[in-house]
Amino acid sequence: MSAVAGRGAAQGVAGGATTTLRRTRRADLGGRAFRGLAVGSGALILAMLAAVAGFLLLEAAPALTASPAELAALSWMPDDGSLWRYVGPLAFGTVLAAVLALGLAVPVSVGIALFISHYAPRRLADVLGSLVDLLAAIPSVVYGLWGALWLAPRLQGPWAWLADHLGFVPLFAGPASTPPRVMATVGVVLAVMVLPIVTAVSREVFLATPRLHEEAALALGATRWEMVRMAVLPFGRSGVVSAAMLGLGRALGETMAVLMILGPGLTYSLALLQVGRHQTIAANVALQFPEANALGVSALIATGLVLFVITLAVNSAARWVVARRAVGGAR
């Protein structure tokens, strides 16, 4: 830019006007190119979304239009060949896993984020922040291996204790299965996986709390905890909700870790400690795909379509919640 300006100055006062004009035109060309690129990128997102939706619909069509008798010939279909009866427990398991993971991860994430933003000494906060970011970089296969080979055997004791002492709660109904390749174990691993993203976003939101609010609270004699409760948390609530929704998106679609840890089954059971009760859509597709015939692949893609719809619904709901909260927060 300075080179162009220098050349313009060297041409003297007389040429100044034309140079400016040429520069404007040239800048405009760049501007128009950039605008085109930006619009193109935006359109590409829409096109990709439409392509994925179209692919799912097109490929699922044979299964959606097949007669129950044809579908029942697939060995893993219910005997009556009803696609809905097959997808139902899968969708339930998917949502259960994601909700469980969020229930475990969000409180911890908010705690970590608050510690980093408001409690920890600056140097420790920096180190801790980058460590949390590092957690996000670990591939899900590694989480799956860790969960299946290391964590699951060690959770046997805690799960047995839960089933013995809190077995009256439907969630902890016993007997706890051994080895614990159960939904509860999956929930813990998924929670660790969504923790970084929820923590990172929450931390940013908490750091953005207006300094004046915090100082005002402190000046009124609030302790640090009271300041966090009165100034930081209300300000950050909508941000934490959107962070949780980002985490939910990841938990809903997680495949590899679930596939490697969970002993699947197709029921609507709430018993998190019993094996062979739950399965998620994504893990089921990966599990059954290798040996599936053409109709089987189509049926699996139909379940993928359901996952697509669930994810879309969850994201839309999250946007709606965030938008409503944001208005409330501004008031």
């Binding site: 591939p139 970084p196 940013e204 490697m260 699947p264």
Partner: protein, 374 residues
């Protein structure tokens, strides 16, 4: 400044998350059969051959490790030849073979009547070749403190997996194992969660040997709901190893250090071994009326000295292809697979039972017909 740095960190987190999600893709995942290269052990090389060209095969994933050993051995002997095998599953392999998309296919179940007719049309004017080149024992594995070997009758085994025999010190198990101190523990049966030829073989054995205790039809998908399960052979072995009082079924060559069950046949108890599996295959008659090159075995699982739980997988081919070079290459490849070097390579790589002499002669006879002008 601090804001910008944190924003950068956030962007990094998002990018990293996106990359991490990329590894979820089940199609290219290294754990998926064929997703990443499996190391192939060194094989004894046959005399150098001059076969050239490319062959495409697809089918049963059970054959994958044996097929990789065969391909490695064949390509080492014939540097000009390339053979590929895509372990997409038996059903997919048969379909692709019938459509002419692949030259060879592997399948755990022989062609049914309709498929055989379609295969005859695909191979015309040649014949359909079906060879039982892969036979591997399936071991019943267990983890029980202090017990390495247990004998179970078919009815007891079926009861254990059907959930009617629930404790290790049950009278049925004690009756099969006189003198063995059995622990007072619940039994946890472990099955395959994915559809597989191993499950189909196992359920076919139970349904045939103990129909009263196992009232389910043979199926590649486990017929009972619930219970412990895991993906793939390695998953089942891992789950059995992680538990206490667990029992499962897996390819015998992958059973690792787990205890195994000898299957009781009358008075004798036969442990899983390639030789005992070969004895069963040798004692099983070939289904007649399928043509001279179609050697489909009617498995006689009650054979006196054989191990009854054997997964037999077939290689499908034609005696003639549209293009003579492909025909020659198929003939050379099948001849290598049926040769002693090929059989030994598969035995080392995958614990495959060697072909019995009588069957081997018929296989070689069928292979010799590939490329004969009809």
């Amino acid at each position: 400044m601090a804001r910008r740095r944190t924003a950068l960190a956030l962007a990094l987190v998002l990018v990293a998350t996106a990359t991490a999600c990329g590894s979820d893709d089940p199609l290219t995942h290294p754990w998926r059969p064929g997703g990443a290269g499996t190391p192939v052990p060194a094989t004894r090389t046959a005399p150098p051959g001059d076969a050239t060209g490319a062959l495409a095969g697809a089918g049963a994933s059970s054959q994958e490790s044996a097929m990789q050993a065969w391909i490695a051995g064949f390509q080492a002997a014939n540097p000009g030849a390339t053979v590929s095998y895509d372990p997409i599953g038996s059903g997919g392999g048969r379909t692709q073979f019938l459509e002419g998309a692949v030259d060879l296919a592997g399948t755990d179940t022989p062609l049914d009547a309709d498929e055989l007719a379609a295969a005859r049309a695909r191979c015309a004017p040649g014949e359909v070749v079906e060879l039982p080149l892969y036979a591997s024992p399936i071991a019943v594995v267990l983890r029980l403190e202090g017990i390495e070997r247990l004998a179970l009758s078919p009815a007891t085994l079926a009861g254990v997996f059907a959930g009617t025999v629930t404790r290790w010190d049950a009278p049925e198990i004690a009756a099969d194992n006189p003198g063995v101190a059995l622990p007072d523990l619940p039994i946890t049966p472990v099955h395959r969660s994915d559809e597989s030829g191993t499950t189909e073989t196992f359920t076919a054995y139970l349904a045939g040997a103990a129909p009263a205790a196992w009232p389910f039809a043979p199926s590649g998908t486990w017929p009972l709901a619930g219970g412990q399960s895991a993906q793939g052979t390695s998953g089942v072995v891992q789950t059995v190893a992680d538990g206490e009082g667990t029992i499962g079924y897996a390819d015998a060559s992958k059973a690792g250090g787990l205890g195994t069950v000898a299957l009781r046949m009358g008075d004798a108890a036969v442990p899983a071994s390639p030789e005992a599996a070969a004895a069963l295959v040798a004692a099983s008659p070939v289904v007649p009326d399928r043509g001279p090159t179609s050697l489909v075995l009617e498995l006689d699982r009650a054979a006196a000295d054989g191990y009854p739980l054997v997964l037999v997988s077939y290689v499908l081919a034609c005696t003639a292809y549209d293009d003579a070079a492909t025909t020659d290459l198929v003939a050379a490849f099948l001849a290598y697979v049926a040769s002693e070097a090929g059989q030994e390579a598969a035995a080392q790589a995958a614990g495959v039972a060697p072909l019995a002499p009588g069957l081997r002669a018929r296989v070689l006879d069928a292979v010799a017909r590939v490329g004969e002008r009809t």
